[in-house]
Subunit: 301 residues, 2 copies
């Protein structure tokens, strides 16, 4: 328990440091060579000054296990955050989830317009791959190509885009526990899996260690989603920065509607314990990953 | 003139061969590991069985100058065609150009729905980068990373997405000749430039030769756009496979509205001649590029 408290204690400053670093990198990436101010304005509006930057933090936490430099890990973190923001912009569109609030401010299509939101999302995906292809991300181009292939797979029809498609099709349909787990694994799990993978790839980790981190990622992704559903059912809009009670209002299946609040919380606790068990053998180096796993179910925003 | 006729003669079978090869590669790429049938259906619907495959043809024509294998060039061609189809799907959306007809059939958002169209476009962009990251595209990962960085730049705010943003902003505004050239160079020129570049990068061409191909690409891209504007003003909807007379109907500036039909045609002729001049020194190896340049202003679809 002392250990848990210590983990929680170190998490917040590291989160804030990573968030500041990612903002700085977005600022650098989105400043030069913008031929269209409106498009860059929309990209900056969506990408900067918001979000927990959980994915870059996961890349850093994984990379630090294998001696990867912070600068390289941050650039990989920038790439995955760019893909994440891309997906948020497109998911918020009226034809998708139709959300008008994101990270505590109007969604991109509300602050700008739908066409600008589509293009800003597209351009952020391009930025992600441009970032990974750059030699500053890793000096070995083989490692960079590997990171790119894995991120593209995680974003495509067998990953994030496929999961969002299933999620849209599941609206107003009878959805069972196995379906919602599968949708989550595709929709958000694939990208979280990439974050842990990225550290292992950049650090040339032994396959057995990479596999343990992949299991950690699977458990963490599901725990996060369950916690999101709990927040949506119970949470405070002002703290979360997006609309709450939406899933229930639309009659949409969630971990809470399937298992109830107590059942969903029990499952999340179990997943976090399983995630932390994967870290045995990494020693204190993995304290950041342990703290993130605990945070998944402890956060109120 | 005999030379020109010979060029025109060889172009059609090569175009058909490339189109068949690209269809085959899309089929292979979009068959496995599709967790969501609807998303893959939409990607296949948009990507297969249509279009002139002009961009893959340009990659092949450039690559053949430097001894790159046809198989490698086709994979790079698949990547740029995936990005091109991605942009067509998103550009056709109601919030963008609002086109209901594309390549002779209903646009993706009409045949499916808007959400599916957004996701299919996103997933095709991911497929493009996944294809380039694969070792089958080039055995040197440094070359692959270079291709990826250049394609991402060509698709982003300083390329295609930036051009489309400017094009949308230019609607109903007074647009001058310099603006419309700039919009075209970004919106379609950047991707055409990548095609010629790709052959040079894969074949490790001398910088002086790569620069000549870049000039060829600039001229060709503009000539194609002018020819498109001429077709829009004069063309036959059934042959082109998309709506015509739309630009004039919307009071949108085009090369035809700025220079008139005769002036636009004169400019296109001049650009094609300039493009072909860049190929001096490449000998008969560049006949395919010469034929493509002539085709740009001779086609009726």
């Amino acid at each position: 328990m002392l250990h848990a408290a210590a983990g929680a204690f170190t998490l917040k400053p590291e989160m804030e440091r990573v968030a500041a670093d990612i903002d700085h990198l977005f600022d650098q990436a989105l400043r030069p060579a913008c031929h269209s101010n409106r498009l860059c304005d929309a990209m900056r509006y969506a990408a900067m000054g918001g979000g927990k930057r959980m994915r870059p933090l996961l890349v850093l936490a994984s990379a630090s296990l294998f001696g990867v430099s912070r600068g390289e890990a941050l650039r990989a973190g920038l790439a995955v955050e760019a893909i994440h923001v891309h997906s948020l912009i497109h998911d918020d569109l009226p034809c998708m989830d139709d959300d008008d609030l994101r990270r505590g401010k109007p969604s991109v299509h509300c602050a700008f317009d739908e066409a600008t939101a589509v293009l800003a999302g597209d351009a952020l995906m391009a930025l992600a791959f441009e970032t990974l292809a750059d030699a500053r991300t890793h000096n070995d181009p083989g490692v960079r190509a590997d990171l790119i292939a894995r991120l593209a797979a995680a974003a495509g029809p067998s990953g994030m885009a496929g999961g969002q498609m299933l999620d849209l099709l599941a609206d107003h349909q009878r959805v069972e526990s196995a379906d919602i787990v599968r949708i989550q694994i595709l929709k958000t799990g694939a990208l979280i899996g990439w974050c842990l993978d990225a550290g292992a790839v950049m650090g040339r980790a032994a396959p057995v260690l990479a596999r343990r981190l992949a299991t950690y990622a699977n458990c963490l992704g599901l725990a996060f989603q369950i916690a999101d559903d709990l927040l949506d059912a119970e949470g405070d809009e002002a703290k979360i920065g997006k609309r709450v009670g939406k899933d229930a209002g639309q009659g949409k299946a969630s971990f809470v509607s399937l298992f109830g609040i107590a059942g969903a919380r029990r499952r999340a606790d179990h997943l976090v314990a399983k995630a932390i068990r994967q870290l045995q053998g990494f020693g204190r180096d993995a304290d950041l990953l342990r703290a993130i796993a605990r945070y998944a179910i402890a956060r109120d925003r």
